[in-house]
């Protein structure tokens, strides 16, 4: 087990900065998810931790040990590839035994370790099967077992579920989480799927365009996004953001949304913070915490589309800059063209500085 520290990590490919600068401390035994859209620098970060690519600048420490110049075979890192990279010309047993064999462990010890790891991962009956004829969940377990047998301090997983169909992904998520609990290693998990990050990670590092946007526990990131990017990226659908100007009213501080009118007054603590900032703001509310009422008070908006996804129904309102989505019960009666009043749940309202995109926090 080991902590991981990234200090001012930079990676450039020619003129392109894949990772602008990254500071991150990962605790011992923590499950950290690196989450972000394609090209955000998450895989680059992981490859640098593994030693597959050298950073352009900054330092990587495992515990107190600087990893600069340490080749990837000597870092004590277990790596699970996106496609698992199982040695298809070998049996499951040969795959599991590969690491110890390369380190010239005695044959009896190899056998003992293979047996132990196979037992843990329920691979014992499959040990002599050729690895090119296995289903994905078994491949995943072989990939994990092959790395785990080396007892690495750190486990890196590169989108291991992206090749799996949706139904199976749920099974594998739970399985992975159980395995992490069993191994107690520090795990870094790269994914673009927020559901995976939310369900499995202790903490999530959200990245975009080579910049770390926010680090925090899943709910923290969902409830209190640090900026507009995180607000839009996390949640399905993401947070509704309406641009406006803070304005005083007889009921307290509201946000003037222009043609849409004014919002309900902001909670006092938030209002105090907002009143100290100047310029435009984004008024943010989670679709799950957006109520739709047949009459006021609220922001009047036309229903433009009703998206029924089974368990829930997503009602789309307005359009362009002033678009709002509301997650409702699946049997709501709204139809396209109707006028609805958007009523936010007061405590769930978030405000962002429109110029910088950074959240304005209540104190």
């Amino acid at each position: 087990m080991s902590t991981i520290h990234l200090h001012g990590l930079v990676k450039k490919f020619g003129d392109f900065a894949a990772l602008k600068t990254m500071d991150l401390d990962i605790a011992d035994g923590e499950f950290m998810a690196l989450l972000g859209p394609s090209g955000c620098g998450k895989t680059t970060t992981m490859n640098m931790i593994a030693g597959m690519t050298e950073p352009t600048g900054g330092r990587i420490l495992f515990g107190a040990r600087d990893m600069a110049g340490v080749p990837m075979g000597r870092r004590g890192v277990g790596f699970v590839f996106q496609n698992y990279a199982i040695f298809t010309h070998m049996t499951v047993r040969e795959n599991l035994a590969y690491g110890p064999k390369m380190h010239r462990a005695p044959k009896r010890e190899i056998d003992r370790r293979v047996q132990a790891i196979a037992g843990l991962l329920e691979l014992t009956p499959l040990l002599d099967r050729k690895a090119d004829r296995l289903s994905v969940n078994i491949l995943q377990r072989v990939a994990i077992g092959r790395s785990a047998i080396m007892e690495p301090a750190i486990f890196l997983l590169d989108e291991p579920l992206s090749n799996v169909d949706a139904a199976f992904r749920a099974v594998m998520r739970t399985e992975l989480k159980h395995l992490q609990r069993a191994f107690k290693q520090t795990m870094v998990y790269v994914t673009h799927d927020q559901l995976e990050a939310m369900t499995m990670a202790d903490r999530i590092a959200v990245m975009d365009h080579g910049v770390l946007q926010q680090v925090g526990a899943p709910l923290e990131i969902y409830n209190d996004p640090a900026n507009v990017f995180v607000a839009r990226f996390i949640g399905a659908p993401g947070m509704n953001l309406l641009k406006g100007k803070p304005a005083a009213s007889d009921r307290g501080l509201v946000v003037d949304l222009g043609p849409l009118g004014a919002t309900p007054p902001l909670p006092t603590a938030l209002a105090a913070a907002v009143s100290r900032s100047n310029g435009d703001v984004y008024y943010g509310l989670r679709p799950e915490q957006t109520m739709l009422l047949p009459q006021g008070p609220g922001i009047a908006m036309p229903v433009t589309f009703v998206e029924r996804i089974g368990a829930r129904t997503i009602v789309h309102l307005g359009g362009g800059e002033a678009a709002v989505k509301a997650v409702c019960a699946n049997d709501v009666r709204w139809v396209t063209g109707e006028a609805a009043f958007v009523a936010p749940v007061e405590q769930s309202v978030r405000v962002f500085d429109a110029a910088t995109g950074i959240a304005i926090k209540a104190e």
Partner: protein, 336 residues
């Protein structure tokens, strides 16, 4: 297709089993008809194959059982008048010159093919990575393969003259005046001939092996590295097993080709001095053009064909599925 749809629609819709039945007989009926059509369509090709492969083989077998020669005054189809049964084959068994030519061919093969393989593999490993001037070296490296063998033969004939460039280079390298009579010394002539073959055919080996090497999944190599395998371990445990099929193909091509080694060699030495570089092809050529006993030639050629076929079958067995390194992606998706 058409038969299925016709029978399916003509059945009354209410009868369940009746719908099932045509589905079973339909395709079979189509199959038979399709097979007849297929036979008719491929008939010209089959006739062609018959003429270019089967007919000469039968003709060869026929002539090999006679004493026929173009000088015997009868057409080849009347060769039965000189029928001698299996005499050619029994002669062959005790023909010392044939056996020594066969042995020499085997020696050339056992030196050249492994040398070409190892050189080709080393070059392929080098070319799998990027380095400055790679494209230029790549083009230069492929040139020997494109040289007409007769031209290559003449080139090496000149190179290995006793006052030729090879001796000049050796002289300047060692500091001693070297005047080896390459092509008139039995051992040196064989070496010279093998050098020419290695020069000309290493590029082919290189090209095939490079294709195989590039196909080795990079992730698996990285995975091996992360598990602590060093370069040599990665090469022996991942790269070579993954290249097994392509290596067998490359070796098979070169073994078969090398067995027939002729043009370059014949121009360099004519099989000489004496019979020092007389390989099986040179021997056959000499018997054909100088001794003119074609019945015997047919017997030799057939014997060699059988030998090569046995080797080929053995090679194919090595390539059988399950023994192969396998293709990673395709099968796994099927299993998923």
């Amino acid at each position: 297709m058409s038969a299925t749809s016709v029978s399916a629609t003509s059945v009354p819709s209410g009868e369940q089993p009746a719908v099932v039945e045509p589905a079973n007989t339909g395709p079979r009926a189509v199959d038979a008809e399709a097979r007849r059509l297929g036979f008719r369509l491929t008939l010209p090709a089959q006739v062609l194959v018959l003429f270019i492969a089967v007919f000469p083989l039968l003709m060869q077998l026929y002539i090999s059982l006679t004493d026929w020669s173009p000088l015997s005054g009868v057409q080849w189809w009347s060769a039965w008048s000189q029928w001698n049964g299996f005499a050619n084959y029994t002669d062959l068994a005790s023909d010392a010159r044939f056996w020594s030519a066969l042995k020499r061919t085997a020696i050339v093969m056992l030196v050249c093919v492994p040398a070409e393989f190892l050189l080709g593999l080393a070059l392929a490993t080098l070319f799998a990575d990027e380095f400055p001037g790679k494209r230029l070296f790549y083009s230069i490296l492929l040139m020997p393969m494109m040289v007409v063998p007769a031209v290559a033969g003449y080139m090496f004939f000149m190179l290995f003259q006793s006052g030729g460039p090879v001796n000049d280079v050796l002289t300047s390298l060692t500091g001693f005046p070297i005047t080896l009579a390459w092509l008139s010394d039995p051992t040196l002539a064989l070496l010279a001939v093998m050098a020419a073959d290695i020069w000309q055919w290493t590029p082919l080996m290189f090209l095939i092996l490079l294709a195989g090497l590039v196909g080795v999944p990079e992730d698996q190599i990285k995975a091996a590295t992360l598990l602590g395998a060093n370069a040599w371990q990665r090469f022996t445990t991942i790269v070579l097993p993954k290249m097994k099929v392509i290596i067998i193909i490359a070796l098979a091509i070169r073994v078969i080709e090398n067995f027939k080694i002729f043009d370059t060699l014949y121009i360099m030495t004519g099989g000489g001095p004496g019979v020092a570089t007389e390989t099986i092809s040179v021997y056959i050529y000499k018997v054909t053009t100088q001794d003119l006993i074609w019945g015997y030639v047919a017997a030799i050629a057939l014997a060699i064909l059988i030998l090569l076929s046995i080797a080929a079958v053995f090679g194919m067995k090595q390539m059988a599925p399950g023994k192969s390194g396998g293709k990673p992606g395709a099968k796994r998706e099927g299993a998923a």
